[in-house]
Protein backbone atom coordinates (compact mmCIF):
# COMPACT_ATOMS: atom_id res chain seq x y z
CA UNK A 1 0.00 0.00 0.00
CA UNK A 2 2.81 2.37 0.98
CA UNK A 3 4.56 1.49 -2.23
CA UNK A 4 1.41 2.26 -4.16
CA UNK A 5 0.95 5.66 -2.47
CA UNK A 6 4.62 6.48 -3.01
CA UNK A 7 4.31 5.59 -6.67
CA UNK A 8 1.16 7.66 -6.94
CA UNK A 9 2.84 10.68 -5.35
CA UNK A 10 5.77 10.40 -7.66
CA UNK A 11 6.56 14.01 -8.63
CA UNK A 12 6.51 13.24 -12.34
CA UNK A 13 3.14 11.54 -12.15
CA UNK A 14 1.74 14.26 -9.89
CA UNK A 15 2.90 16.91 -12.34
CA UNK A 16 1.20 15.09 -15.18
CA UNK A 17 -2.06 14.61 -13.25
CA UNK A 18 -2.11 18.08 -11.69
CA UNK A 19 -4.26 19.63 -14.46
CA UNK A 20 -6.86 16.91 -13.89
CA UNK A 21 -6.90 17.50 -10.11
CA UNK A 22 -7.13 21.24 -10.67
CA UNK A 23 -10.01 20.89 -13.13
CA UNK A 24 -11.95 18.68 -10.72
CA UNK A 25 -11.39 21.10 -7.84
CA UNK A 26 -12.47 24.00 -10.04
CA UNK A 27 -15.59 22.12 -11.09
CA UNK A 28 -16.48 21.48 -7.45
CA UNK A 29 -16.41 25.20 -6.77
CA UNK A 30 -17.98 26.44 -9.96
CA UNK A 31 -20.76 23.91 -10.55
CA UNK A 32 -22.98 24.94 -7.63
CA UNK A 33 -22.41 28.62 -8.42
CA UNK A 34 -23.20 28.11 -12.07
CA UNK A 35 -26.44 26.33 -11.25
CA UNK A 36 -27.63 29.02 -8.90
CA UNK A 37 -26.89 32.03 -11.05
CA UNK A 38 -29.71 34.32 -11.99
CA UNK A 39 -32.30 32.96 -9.59
CA UNK A 40 -32.91 32.99 -5.89
CA UNK A 41 -32.98 29.21 -5.88
CA UNK A 42 -34.42 27.90 -2.65
CA UNK A 43 -33.04 24.43 -3.17
CA UNK A 44 -29.35 25.37 -2.94
CA UNK A 45 -27.17 23.11 -0.90
CA UNK A 46 -28.99 21.15 1.78
CA UNK A 47 -32.15 22.44 3.36
CA UNK A 48 -35.65 21.77 4.55
CA UNK A 49 -39.10 23.29 4.48
CA UNK A 50 -42.56 22.47 5.79
CA UNK A 51 -46.11 23.74 5.55
CA UNK A 52 -49.48 22.79 6.97
CA UNK A 53 -53.03 23.97 6.32
CA UNK A 54 -54.47 26.09 9.12
CA UNK A 55 -57.47 23.73 9.34
CA UNK A 56 -57.08 20.00 8.81
CA UNK A 57 -59.60 18.20 6.57
CA UNK A 58 -61.86 16.01 8.68
CA UNK A 59 -61.82 12.24 8.74
CA UNK A 60 -64.91 10.34 7.70
CA UNK A 61 -65.95 6.90 6.58
CA UNK A 62 -65.45 6.16 2.88
CA UNK A 63 -68.89 4.63 2.29
CA UNK A 64 -68.00 1.31 0.67
CA UNK A 65 -70.13 0.42 -2.33
CA UNK A 66 -69.99 -3.24 -1.38
CA UNK A 67 -71.16 -2.69 2.22
CA UNK A 68 -73.83 -0.18 1.15
CA UNK A 69 -74.20 1.67 4.46
CA UNK A 70 -75.62 4.67 2.61
CA UNK A 71 -78.47 2.46 1.42
CA UNK A 72 -78.90 -0.02 4.24
CA UNK A 73 -77.83 2.06 7.21
CA UNK A 74 -75.80 0.46 9.97
CA UNK A 75 -76.18 -0.61 13.58
CA UNK A 76 -78.41 1.91 15.29
CA UNK A 77 -78.51 4.26 12.31
CA UNK A 78 -81.11 4.46 9.56
CA UNK A 79 -79.88 5.08 5.99
CA UNK A 80 -78.86 8.78 5.71
CA UNK A 81 -80.48 8.96 2.28
CA UNK A 82 -83.81 7.68 3.65
CA UNK A 83 -83.64 10.44 6.24
CA UNK A 84 -82.85 12.96 3.50
CA UNK A 85 -85.86 11.83 1.46
CA UNK A 86 -88.11 12.21 4.52
CA UNK A 87 -86.75 15.68 5.23
CA UNK A 88 -87.34 16.85 1.65
CA UNK A 89 -90.80 15.27 1.70
CA UNK A 90 -91.61 17.22 4.87
CA UNK A 91 -90.25 20.46 3.43
CA UNK A 92 -91.46 20.33 -0.17
CA UNK A 93 -94.25 17.79 -0.17
CA UNK A 94 -92.48 15.41 -2.56
CA UNK A 95 -90.06 12.53 -2.12
CA UNK A 96 -86.95 13.21 -4.22
CA UNK A 97 -86.00 9.55 -4.44
CA UNK A 98 -82.35 9.93 -3.39
CA UNK A 99 -82.39 6.59 -1.57
CA UNK A 100 -84.02 4.75 -4.49
CA UNK A 101 -81.42 6.15 -6.89
CA UNK A 102 -78.56 5.10 -4.60
CA UNK A 103 -79.98 1.60 -4.13
CA UNK A 104 -80.39 0.99 -7.85
CA UNK A 105 -77.40 -1.23 -8.83
CA UNK A 106 -77.42 0.22 -12.35
CA UNK A 107 -76.04 3.44 -10.91
CA UNK A 108 -73.02 1.68 -9.42
CA UNK A 109 -73.16 3.35 -5.99
CA UNK A 110 -74.36 0.20 -4.24
CA UNK A 111 -72.64 -2.88 -5.57
CA UNK A 112 -72.72 -5.93 -3.22
CA UNK A 113 -70.68 -7.98 -5.70
CA UNK A 114 -68.17 -5.25 -6.53
CA UNK A 115 -64.54 -4.89 -5.44
CA UNK A 116 -63.93 -4.36 -1.75
CA UNK A 117 -61.95 -1.16 -2.27
CA UNK A 118 -64.53 0.81 -4.30
CA UNK A 119 -66.42 3.49 -2.45
CA UNK A 120 -67.06 7.19 -2.03
CA UNK A 121 -63.48 8.16 -1.07
CA UNK A 122 -63.39 10.92 -3.70
CA UNK A 123 -66.67 12.38 -2.40
CA UNK A 124 -65.43 12.25 1.20
CA UNK A 125 -62.04 13.74 0.21
CA UNK A 126 -63.61 16.68 -1.62
CA UNK A 127 -66.12 17.30 1.18
CA UNK A 128 -63.38 17.10 3.83
CA UNK A 129 -61.37 19.72 1.95
CA UNK A 130 -64.26 22.02 1.00
CA UNK A 131 -66.72 21.82 3.90
CA UNK A 132 -66.46 22.46 7.64
CA UNK A 133 -66.81 19.31 9.71
CA UNK A 134 -70.35 18.68 10.96
CA UNK A 135 -69.77 18.37 14.69
CA UNK A 136 -73.26 18.40 16.18
CA UNK A 137 -76.46 16.46 15.43
CA UNK A 138 -79.27 18.62 14.02
CA UNK A 139 -83.01 18.18 13.72
CA UNK A 140 -84.50 19.76 10.61
CA UNK A 141 -88.19 19.63 9.72
CA UNK A 142 -88.69 16.86 12.25
CA UNK A 143 -85.84 14.65 11.03
CA UNK A 144 -82.72 14.14 13.14
CA UNK A 145 -79.39 13.96 11.33
CA UNK A 146 -76.37 12.72 13.25
CA UNK A 147 -72.90 13.96 12.40
CA UNK A 148 -72.42 10.66 10.51
CA UNK A 149 -75.58 11.37 8.46
CA UNK A 150 -74.35 14.85 7.61
CA UNK A 151 -70.92 13.57 6.58
CA UNK A 152 -72.61 10.93 4.46
CA UNK A 153 -74.73 13.50 2.62
CA UNK A 154 -71.76 15.82 2.06
CA UNK A 155 -69.66 12.91 0.76
CA UNK A 156 -72.45 11.96 -1.63
CA UNK A 157 -72.92 15.54 -2.82
CA UNK A 158 -69.23 16.11 -3.51
CA UNK A 159 -68.93 12.96 -5.61
CA UNK A 160 -69.48 15.24 -8.58
CA UNK A 161 -67.49 18.46 -8.77
CA UNK A 162 -65.07 20.08 -11.14
CA UNK A 163 -61.52 19.18 -10.26
CA UNK A 164 -58.02 20.15 -11.29
CA UNK A 165 -56.52 16.81 -12.15
CA UNK A 166 -52.80 15.98 -12.42
CA UNK A 167 -51.36 12.65 -13.48
CA UNK A 168 -53.11 9.65 -14.98
CA UNK A 169 -55.29 7.07 -13.35
CA UNK A 170 -53.58 3.73 -13.84
CA UNK A 171 -54.95 0.26 -14.21
CA UNK A 172 -51.65 -1.65 -14.05
CA UNK A 173 -48.82 -1.95 -11.54
CA UNK A 174 -45.94 -1.13 -13.86
CA UNK A 175 -44.00 1.85 -12.55
CA UNK A 176 -43.21 3.21 -15.98
CA UNK A 177 -46.41 4.95 -16.81
CA UNK A 178 -47.92 8.39 -16.79
CA UNK A 179 -48.33 8.76 -13.01
CA UNK A 180 -47.84 12.21 -11.67
CA UNK A 181 -44.25 13.35 -12.09
CA UNK A 182 -42.44 14.29 -8.88
CA UNK A 183 -41.67 17.83 -10.05
CA UNK A 184 -45.39 18.43 -10.60
CA UNK A 185 -46.20 16.80 -7.25
CA UNK A 186 -43.65 19.00 -5.48
CA UNK A 187 -45.00 22.12 -7.19
CA UNK A 188 -48.57 21.28 -6.18
CA UNK A 189 -47.52 20.82 -2.55
CA UNK A 190 -45.71 24.16 -2.43
CA UNK A 191 -48.31 26.01 -4.48
CA UNK A 192 -51.38 24.72 -2.67
CA UNK A 193 -50.46 23.71 0.86
CA UNK A 194 -47.89 26.43 1.51
CA UNK A 195 -48.84 29.32 -0.75
CA UNK A 196 -52.59 29.14 -1.30
CA UNK A 197 -53.44 27.25 1.92
CA UNK A 198 -55.70 25.06 -0.17
CA UNK A 199 -56.30 21.37 0.40
CA UNK A 200 -55.51 18.81 -2.28
CA UNK A 201 -56.18 15.12 -2.69
CA UNK A 202 -53.91 12.26 -3.77
CA UNK A 203 -54.56 8.70 -4.82
CA UNK A 204 -51.86 7.05 -2.74
CA UNK A 205 -52.20 3.71 -4.47
CA UNK A 206 -50.26 3.68 -7.70
CA UNK A 207 -51.83 0.46 -8.93
CA UNK A 208 -55.36 -0.16 -10.21
CA UNK A 209 -57.04 0.52 -6.87
CA UNK A 210 -57.89 4.11 -5.99
CA UNK A 211 -57.44 5.35 -2.44
CA UNK A 212 -58.03 9.08 -2.28
CA UNK A 213 -56.89 10.98 0.79
CA UNK A 214 -56.75 14.74 1.47
CA UNK A 215 -53.27 16.18 2.01
CA UNK A 216 -52.96 18.81 4.72
CA UNK A 217 -49.21 19.21 5.19
CA UNK A 218 -45.72 18.25 4.20
CA UNK A 219 -42.15 18.30 5.47
CA UNK A 220 -39.44 18.22 2.85
CA UNK A 221 -35.65 17.95 2.91
CA UNK A 222 -33.28 18.30 0.00
CA UNK A 223 -29.63 17.63 -0.67
CA UNK A 224 -27.39 18.61 -3.54
CA UNK A 225 -24.13 16.94 -4.46
CA UNK A 226 -21.49 18.81 -6.39
CA UNK A 227 -20.72 15.77 -8.50
CA UNK A 228 -24.33 15.61 -9.66
CA UNK A 229 -24.92 19.09 -11.02
CA UNK A 230 -28.48 19.88 -11.94
CA UNK A 231 -29.99 17.33 -9.55
CA UNK A 232 -31.58 17.77 -6.15
CA UNK A 233 -32.38 14.71 -4.02
CA UNK A 234 -35.62 15.33 -2.14
CA UNK A 235 -37.30 13.42 0.70
CA UNK A 236 -40.82 14.60 1.46
CA UNK A 237 -43.13 13.36 4.19
CA UNK A 238 -46.75 14.05 3.33
CA UNK A 239 -49.52 14.28 5.95
CA UNK A 240 -52.90 12.82 5.03
CA UNK A 241 -56.35 12.73 6.64
CA UNK A 242 -57.53 9.11 6.95
CA UNK A 243 -60.90 7.57 6.13
CA UNK A 244 -60.29 4.34 8.02
CA UNK A 245 -62.75 5.37 10.71
CA UNK A 246 -66.30 4.65 11.80
CA UNK A 247 -69.07 6.91 10.44
CA UNK A 248 -69.48 8.58 13.85
CA UNK A 249 -65.80 9.57 14.13
CA UNK A 250 -65.10 13.26 14.81
CA UNK A 251 -61.85 15.09 14.20
CA UNK A 252 -58.92 14.09 12.03
CA UNK A 253 -57.16 10.76 12.11
CA UNK A 254 -53.89 11.17 10.25
CA UNK A 255 -51.17 9.14 8.60
CA UNK A 256 -48.00 9.99 6.73
CA UNK A 257 -46.15 8.69 3.73
CA UNK A 258 -42.57 9.52 2.79
CA UNK A 259 -41.59 9.92 -0.85
CA UNK A 260 -38.10 10.08 -2.36
CA UNK A 261 -37.43 11.75 -5.71
CA UNK A 262 -34.88 13.68 -7.71
CA UNK A 263 -35.66 17.11 -9.12
CA UNK A 264 -33.84 18.37 -12.19
CA UNK A 265 -32.69 21.99 -12.02
CA UNK A 266 -31.45 24.02 -14.97
CA UNK A 267 -28.73 26.67 -15.08
CA UNK A 268 -31.19 29.37 -14.07
CA UNK A 269 -32.22 27.52 -10.95
CA UNK A 270 -35.58 26.51 -12.41
CA UNK A 271 -37.02 23.06 -11.71
CA UNK A 272 -37.50 21.47 -15.09
CA UNK A 273 -38.26 17.83 -14.37
CA UNK A 274 -38.02 14.99 -11.93
CA UNK A 275 -37.94 11.23 -11.45
CA UNK A 276 -39.08 9.00 -8.61
CA UNK A 277 -36.22 7.53 -6.59
CA UNK A 278 -36.08 3.69 -6.60
CA UNK A 279 -37.34 3.75 -3.00
CA UNK A 280 -40.58 5.35 -4.18
CA UNK A 281 -40.81 3.80 -7.60
CA UNK A 282 -43.49 1.35 -6.46
CA UNK A 283 -45.01 3.60 -3.83
CA UNK A 284 -45.88 7.09 -5.01
CA UNK A 285 -49.10 8.98 -5.77
CA UNK A 286 -50.91 7.86 -8.88
CA UNK A 287 -52.65 11.17 -9.39
CA UNK A 288 -53.41 14.36 -7.50
CA UNK A 289 -56.53 16.47 -7.76
CA UNK A 290 -57.94 19.64 -6.29
CA UNK A 291 -61.68 20.12 -5.84
CA UNK A 292 -62.88 23.53 -6.95
CA UNK A 293 -65.90 25.56 -5.95
CA UNK A 294 -66.32 27.33 -9.27
CA UNK A 295 -68.55 24.87 -11.06
CA UNK A 296 -71.94 23.63 -9.94
CA UNK A 297 -72.66 19.97 -9.48
CA UNK A 298 -74.23 18.72 -12.65
CA UNK A 299 -76.25 15.91 -11.13
CA UNK A 300 -74.10 13.26 -12.72
CA UNK A 301 -73.78 11.20 -9.57
CA UNK A 302 -76.88 11.14 -7.35
CA UNK A 303 -79.09 13.66 -9.19
CA UNK A 304 -81.78 13.39 -6.53
CA UNK A 305 -79.60 15.18 -4.01
CA UNK A 306 -79.96 18.97 -4.14
CA UNK A 307 -76.99 20.93 -2.74
CA UNK A 308 -79.20 23.71 -1.33
CA UNK A 309 -81.24 21.15 0.63
CA UNK A 310 -78.12 19.38 1.88
CA UNK A 311 -76.85 22.75 3.12
CA UNK A 312 -80.20 23.33 4.79
CA UNK A 313 -79.29 20.30 6.92
CA UNK A 314 -75.56 20.79 7.43
CA UNK A 315 -75.52 24.56 7.75
CA UNK A 316 -79.07 25.39 8.65
CA UNK A 317 -79.70 27.18 5.36
CA UNK A 318 -77.89 28.45 2.31
CA UNK A 319 -74.15 28.04 2.59
CA UNK A 320 -72.55 31.38 3.38
CA UNK A 321 -69.12 30.44 2.16
CA UNK A 322 -67.95 27.76 -0.17
CA UNK A 323 -70.76 26.33 -2.21
CA UNK A 324 -70.89 24.30 -5.36
CA UNK A 325 -73.33 26.78 -6.85
CA UNK A 326 -71.69 29.96 -5.68
CA UNK A 327 -70.09 30.55 -9.03
CA UNK A 328 -73.52 30.84 -10.51
CA UNK A 329 -75.09 32.83 -7.67
CA UNK A 330 -76.60 35.99 -9.15
CA UNK A 331 -75.15 38.56 -6.76
CA UNK A 332 -73.55 41.29 -8.92
CA UNK A 333 -75.61 42.59 -11.81
CA UNK A 334 -73.20 42.31 -14.75
CA UNK A 335 -69.86 40.77 -15.74
CA UNK A 336 -68.19 44.13 -15.20
CA UNK A 337 -69.63 44.32 -11.69
CA UNK A 338 -68.02 40.95 -11.00
CA UNK A 339 -64.67 42.31 -12.20
CA UNK A 340 -65.05 45.32 -9.90
CA UNK A 341 -65.87 42.99 -7.00
CA UNK A 342 -62.61 41.20 -7.78
CA UNK A 343 -60.69 44.50 -7.72
CA UNK A 344 -60.29 44.81 -11.51
CA UNK A 345 -61.21 48.14 -13.14
CA UNK A 346 -62.93 47.24 -16.45
CA UNK A 347 -62.11 50.68 -17.87
CA UNK A 348 -58.40 49.87 -17.77
CA UNK A 349 -58.93 46.95 -20.13
CA UNK A 350 -62.06 47.62 -22.14
CA UNK A 351 -62.13 51.38 -22.83
Amino acid sequence: MIRFISAFLNPDRFTRLFPLFFALALLAVIAPMAEARGDALRLQGDGSDKAFLPVKPWSGYWWSRKEGKLVKGWAGNESPLKKYDRFVQNRTGRNPGAHAWEADPRHGHFDPTGPGWAGHCNGWSAAAVMEPEPRTPVTVDGVEFTTADQKALLSEMWMDCRTLFYGKRKDTSTPFSLDIYPNVFHRLLVENIKQKKRGMVADTSFNRQVWNYPIFGYETQWKRRWWLPGMVHVTTTVYFADDGVKPEFLGTKTFTKTYHYVLQVNGRGEITGGVWDPRSLWDHPDFVWIPTADSPAQGGENPKLTPALVYAITRGGAAPGVSMSLAMAPAPASPEDVLREAGIDPDVYFR
Partner: protein, 229 residues
Protein backbone atom coordinates in the same frame (compact mmCIF):
# COMPACT_ATOMS: atom_id res chain seq x y z
CA UNK B 1 -26.86 34.48 -70.06
CA UNK B 2 -29.71 34.27 -72.50
CA UNK B 3 -33.09 35.84 -71.85
CA UNK B 4 -34.84 32.51 -71.27
CA UNK B 5 -32.59 31.56 -68.34
CA UNK B 6 -32.99 35.03 -66.84
CA UNK B 7 -36.78 34.60 -66.84
CA UNK B 8 -36.51 31.17 -65.31
CA UNK B 9 -34.34 32.51 -62.50
CA UNK B 10 -36.62 35.53 -61.90
CA UNK B 11 -39.73 33.34 -61.82
CA UNK B 12 -38.03 30.90 -59.45
CA UNK B 13 -37.12 33.75 -57.10
CA UNK B 14 -40.66 35.15 -57.21
CA UNK B 15 -42.13 31.74 -56.43
CA UNK B 16 -39.60 31.18 -53.64
CA UNK B 17 -40.36 34.56 -52.04
CA UNK B 18 -44.09 34.00 -52.38
CA UNK B 19 -43.64 30.67 -50.66
CA UNK B 20 -41.56 32.26 -47.91
CA UNK B 21 -44.21 34.95 -47.37
CA UNK B 22 -46.92 32.34 -47.14
CA UNK B 23 -44.81 30.30 -44.75
CA UNK B 24 -43.98 33.25 -42.52
CA UNK B 25 -47.61 34.38 -42.37
CA UNK B 26 -49.12 30.97 -41.81
CA UNK B 27 -52.50 30.54 -40.16
CA UNK B 28 -53.92 32.44 -37.26
CA UNK B 29 -57.50 33.41 -36.50
CA UNK B 30 -58.47 36.94 -37.47
CA UNK B 31 -60.35 39.00 -34.91
CA UNK B 32 -61.99 42.42 -34.81
CA UNK B 33 -63.07 44.50 -31.85
CA UNK B 34 -66.74 43.75 -31.15
CA UNK B 35 -66.54 40.18 -32.40
CA UNK B 36 -68.05 37.45 -30.21
CA UNK B 37 -68.20 33.67 -30.25
CA UNK B 38 -69.52 30.95 -27.97
CA UNK B 39 -67.84 27.74 -26.87
CA UNK B 40 -69.81 24.88 -25.34
CA UNK B 41 -67.82 22.96 -22.73
CA UNK B 42 -68.29 19.68 -20.86
CA UNK B 43 -66.08 18.60 -17.97
CA UNK B 44 -64.97 15.10 -17.20
CA UNK B 45 -66.43 13.67 -14.03
CA UNK B 46 -63.93 12.22 -11.60
CA UNK B 47 -65.89 9.33 -10.13
CA UNK B 48 -65.01 5.88 -11.41
CA UNK B 49 -62.55 7.33 -13.92
CA UNK B 50 -65.28 6.67 -16.44
CA UNK B 51 -65.81 8.46 -19.73
CA UNK B 52 -68.60 10.50 -18.19
CA UNK B 53 -69.01 14.20 -18.91
CA UNK B 54 -71.05 16.95 -17.32
CA UNK B 55 -73.88 18.69 -19.13
CA UNK B 56 -72.41 21.53 -21.23
CA UNK B 57 -71.69 25.05 -20.04
CA UNK B 58 -71.49 27.84 -22.64
CA UNK B 59 -68.71 30.40 -22.48
CA UNK B 60 -68.97 33.62 -24.50
CA UNK B 61 -65.78 35.19 -25.81
CA UNK B 62 -65.94 38.89 -26.72
CA UNK B 63 -63.13 40.96 -28.23
CA UNK B 64 -63.73 44.05 -26.15
CA UNK B 65 -60.85 46.32 -27.14
CA UNK B 66 -57.48 46.74 -28.77
CA UNK B 67 -55.21 48.33 -26.16
CA UNK B 68 -51.59 48.60 -25.16
CA UNK B 69 -51.06 46.24 -22.23
CA UNK B 70 -47.62 45.97 -20.61
CA UNK B 71 -46.19 47.90 -23.58
CA UNK B 72 -47.62 45.55 -26.22
CA UNK B 73 -50.55 46.19 -28.54
CA UNK B 74 -53.13 43.61 -27.47
CA UNK B 75 -56.59 42.33 -28.15
CA UNK B 76 -58.51 42.29 -24.88
CA UNK B 77 -60.90 39.34 -24.83
CA UNK B 78 -63.50 39.06 -22.06
CA UNK B 79 -64.86 35.56 -21.39
CA UNK B 80 -68.07 35.14 -19.41
CA UNK B 81 -70.71 32.45 -18.84
CA UNK B 82 -73.03 32.88 -21.84
CA UNK B 83 -76.25 31.91 -20.09
CA UNK B 84 -75.47 33.64 -16.80
CA UNK B 85 -73.53 36.89 -17.31
CA UNK B 86 -73.35 37.56 -13.58
CA UNK B 87 -71.42 34.34 -12.90
CA UNK B 88 -68.25 34.82 -10.90
CA UNK B 89 -66.07 32.71 -13.18
CA UNK B 90 -64.62 34.93 -15.91
CA UNK B 91 -61.37 35.63 -17.71
CA UNK B 92 -59.75 38.66 -19.31
CA UNK B 93 -57.21 37.66 -21.95
CA UNK B 94 -54.71 40.22 -23.27
CA UNK B 95 -53.20 38.71 -26.40
CA UNK B 96 -50.63 40.37 -28.68
CA UNK B 97 -52.25 41.67 -31.86
CA UNK B 98 -49.19 40.55 -33.82
CA UNK B 99 -49.40 36.82 -33.11
CA UNK B 100 -51.99 36.29 -30.31
CA UNK B 101 -49.33 35.26 -27.81
CA UNK B 102 -50.44 35.80 -24.21
CA UNK B 103 -49.23 38.99 -22.53
CA UNK B 104 -51.49 39.20 -19.49
CA UNK B 105 -54.26 36.91 -18.26
CA UNK B 106 -56.74 37.61 -15.47
CA UNK B 107 -58.68 34.68 -14.05
CA UNK B 108 -61.69 35.53 -11.90
CA UNK B 109 -63.46 32.97 -9.72
CA UNK B 110 -65.38 32.77 -6.47
CA UNK B 111 -63.11 32.75 -3.45
CA UNK B 112 -63.64 30.93 -0.15
CA UNK B 113 -66.03 33.66 1.06
CA UNK B 114 -68.06 33.58 -2.15
CA UNK B 115 -66.77 36.93 -3.41
CA UNK B 116 -65.07 37.20 -6.78
CA UNK B 117 -61.28 37.00 -6.64
CA UNK B 118 -58.84 37.79 -9.45
CA UNK B 119 -55.52 36.14 -10.23
CA UNK B 120 -53.34 38.03 -12.70
CA UNK B 121 -50.61 36.32 -14.72
CA UNK B 122 -48.06 38.37 -16.62
CA UNK B 123 -46.38 36.14 -19.17
CA UNK B 124 -42.62 36.18 -19.61
CA UNK B 125 -42.00 37.51 -23.12
CA UNK B 126 -38.72 35.62 -23.25
CA UNK B 127 -40.47 32.27 -23.03
CA UNK B 128 -42.21 30.54 -25.90
CA UNK B 129 -45.47 30.01 -24.05
CA UNK B 130 -48.80 28.90 -25.49
CA UNK B 131 -51.83 30.22 -23.61
CA UNK B 132 -52.90 27.53 -21.14
CA UNK B 133 -56.05 27.83 -19.06
CA UNK B 134 -54.38 26.01 -16.15
CA UNK B 135 -56.73 26.09 -13.19
CA UNK B 136 -59.46 28.17 -14.82
CA UNK B 137 -62.76 26.49 -15.60
CA UNK B 138 -62.77 28.35 -18.92
CA UNK B 139 -60.96 26.41 -21.66
CA UNK B 140 -59.27 29.37 -23.31
CA UNK B 141 -56.16 27.46 -24.37
CA UNK B 142 -54.47 28.78 -27.50
CA UNK B 143 -51.51 27.38 -29.42
CA UNK B 144 -48.59 29.45 -30.60
CA UNK B 145 -49.43 31.14 -33.89
CA UNK B 146 -48.94 31.19 -36.77
CA UNK B 147 -49.47 27.60 -37.81
CA UNK B 148 -47.59 27.22 -41.06
CA UNK B 149 -48.43 24.59 -43.61
CA UNK B 150 -44.94 23.25 -43.84
CA UNK B 151 -46.12 19.83 -44.91
CA UNK B 152 -48.52 18.88 -47.63
CA UNK B 153 -52.00 17.88 -46.64
CA UNK B 154 -52.23 14.23 -45.74
CA UNK B 155 -48.63 13.78 -44.75
CA UNK B 156 -48.11 11.89 -41.56
CA UNK B 157 -45.78 14.39 -39.94
CA UNK B 158 -46.52 17.95 -38.95
CA UNK B 159 -44.55 20.83 -37.56
CA UNK B 160 -43.31 20.80 -33.97
CA UNK B 161 -42.51 23.54 -31.49
CA UNK B 162 -41.13 23.03 -27.99
CA UNK B 163 -42.47 25.71 -25.69
CA UNK B 164 -42.64 25.92 -21.94
CA UNK B 165 -44.90 27.20 -19.22
CA UNK B 166 -43.58 28.52 -15.94
CA UNK B 167 -45.19 28.56 -12.51
CA UNK B 168 -43.66 30.32 -9.55
CA UNK B 169 -44.53 29.15 -6.07
CA UNK B 170 -42.89 30.37 -2.88
CA UNK B 171 -39.79 31.57 -4.73
CA UNK B 172 -39.36 28.38 -6.74
CA UNK B 173 -39.81 28.42 -10.48
CA UNK B 174 -41.16 25.25 -12.05
CA UNK B 175 -40.85 25.02 -15.80
CA UNK B 176 -42.93 22.46 -17.65
CA UNK B 177 -42.26 21.63 -21.27
CA UNK B 178 -45.16 22.20 -23.63
CA UNK B 179 -44.88 20.42 -26.93
CA UNK B 180 -46.95 21.84 -29.74
CA UNK B 181 -47.40 19.98 -32.99
CA UNK B 182 -49.80 20.58 -35.81
CA UNK B 183 -50.87 19.13 -39.06
CA UNK B 184 -52.82 20.58 -41.96
CA UNK B 185 -56.31 19.26 -42.60
CA UNK B 186 -58.68 19.84 -45.49
CA UNK B 187 -60.13 22.93 -43.83
CA UNK B 188 -57.37 24.15 -41.51
CA UNK B 189 -55.15 22.57 -38.88
CA UNK B 190 -55.23 20.05 -36.09
CA UNK B 191 -53.05 21.17 -33.20
CA UNK B 192 -51.81 19.03 -30.32
CA UNK B 193 -50.51 20.60 -27.10
CA UNK B 194 -48.85 18.19 -24.69
CA UNK B 195 -48.89 19.87 -21.27
CA UNK B 196 -48.25 18.92 -17.66
CA UNK B 197 -51.30 20.95 -16.59
CA UNK B 198 -54.76 19.77 -15.55
CA UNK B 199 -55.93 19.47 -19.16
CA UNK B 200 -53.09 17.10 -20.08
CA UNK B 201 -52.92 16.63 -23.83
CA UNK B 202 -55.10 19.12 -25.70
CA UNK B 203 -56.16 18.54 -29.29
CA UNK B 204 -57.73 21.45 -31.17
CA UNK B 205 -59.24 21.69 -34.62
CA UNK B 206 -58.82 25.07 -36.28
CA UNK B 207 -60.65 26.03 -39.45
CA UNK B 208 -59.90 28.91 -41.75
CA UNK B 209 -62.32 31.79 -41.26
CA UNK B 210 -63.43 30.73 -37.74
CA UNK B 211 -62.39 32.84 -34.74
CA UNK B 212 -61.72 29.96 -32.36
CA UNK B 213 -60.99 26.25 -32.40
CA UNK B 214 -64.09 24.53 -33.67
CA UNK B 215 -63.36 21.55 -31.47
CA UNK B 216 -61.18 20.84 -28.42
CA UNK B 217 -60.66 17.56 -26.63
CA UNK B 218 -58.45 16.93 -23.63
CA UNK B 219 -58.14 14.68 -20.61
CA UNK B 220 -60.43 16.97 -18.59
CA UNK B 221 -62.66 19.02 -20.92
CA UNK B 222 -64.13 18.89 -24.38
CA UNK B 223 -65.45 21.89 -26.28
CA UNK B 224 -67.26 22.83 -29.44
CA UNK B 225 -67.51 26.23 -31.08
CA UNK B 226 -71.27 26.68 -31.34
CA UNK B 227 -71.60 30.28 -32.49
CA UNK B 228 -69.29 32.80 -34.10
CA UNK B 229 -67.87 33.36 -37.55
Amino acid sequence: MNRGWTWVIVMAMVLFMAGMADCSEGFRPVWQVGQTWTVETSYKRLADGSEAWTTPVRWQFAVRAEKEIDGIDCYVVHVTAADLPEAKTQAVLCLAVSDLRPVQVIDVAAGPDGRAEATTRRLDGERLTPLLSGESAIPYDLPLFPLAAETREGEATGALVDGESANTADGLTFVDAVQQSWQPTATGFEVTLRTAGPLGTIIQTWETGRPWATRLTSDAVRCTLVAGQ
